[in-house]
Amino acid sequence: MSRRLPTPPIPAGGRLLDARLSLLDRQVLDVDGEPVGVVDDLELSDPQAGVLPDDAVAPVVRHLVHGPVVLDRITGGRHPRAHFERIEWAAVAEIGPALRLAVGSSRVPVGWLEDWLARNVVARIPGGRHVPR
């Protein structure tokens, strides 16, 4: 029953990690440590989805995806894919308890709701632009 399986070959250089354990649902921080979202999903390249030939090239991670896609992961439903905010993998600087980007949050799409609420609700209330002291 608990026969030990052999240890798999380890590729030279770089490191191995499991997507669900180390990437999915992690907080994403910009270069200054400001939160920009959560890794709600990962977008992979799909050169050959479907039946794979013997020499099929393995897909790579292209984007971190955030936004309502998380509801799809919960319900199994499908939102139109164009509506999600994507962050290029190339912007990722560090994988840790949070994913740190090499760019500022102004260069990352954050979603319209935050902007809209900030401009039309919060900033209009006196004191909305000041740090509480």
Binding site: T7, A19, L21, S22, D40, W89
Partner: protein
């Protein structure tokens, strides 16, 4: 393709279901020119016989604390295995399929990567 569409899907081999897709193992190469981290490439898939068997990767990370919970979670994920990309016959929906002669490897992560705890972890380095 979105990873979330694949996770939890049934995994087949020779038309028979052998488990569920618990996770996708990625290989992150050392930095390539113009990038801080290389593009993570799919290295293999972690298959667990039970749909919700793999909790928090206790079977993959060499973690043994807290002892009772660790033992319970490892037990729930018993029978998990890793299959490398080369041994996949079908990728994507409705299911991931293994080649008939696919090798089954230990799902444990190698001892130096993240998840195994021996990676150099700066003390509180990421406290905001």
């Amino acid at each position: 393709m979105f990873l979330g569409d694949l996770l939890g899907r049934p995994v087949l081999q020779s038309g028979r279901q052998v488990g569920y897709l618990a996770d996708v193992r990625l290989h992150v190469p050392d930095r390539s020119p113009g990038q801080r981290l290389g593009d993570p490439r799919v290295y293999g898939v972690v298959v667990c016989p039970r749909r919700t068997g793999s909790f928090d990767g206790y079977e993959r990370r060499g973690l043994d604390a807290p002892a009772l919970l660790a033992r319970y979670f490892r037990w729930r994920a018993r029978g998990s295995f890793l299959v490398l990309w080369e041994d996949l016959a079908h990728w994507g929906e409705p299911a991931v399929e293994l080649r008939p002669g696919a090798s089954r490897w230990s799902p444990e992560l190698p001892p130096s990567g993240p998840g195994r705890g021996r990676s150099p972890q700066p003390d509180g380095g990421s406290v905001d």
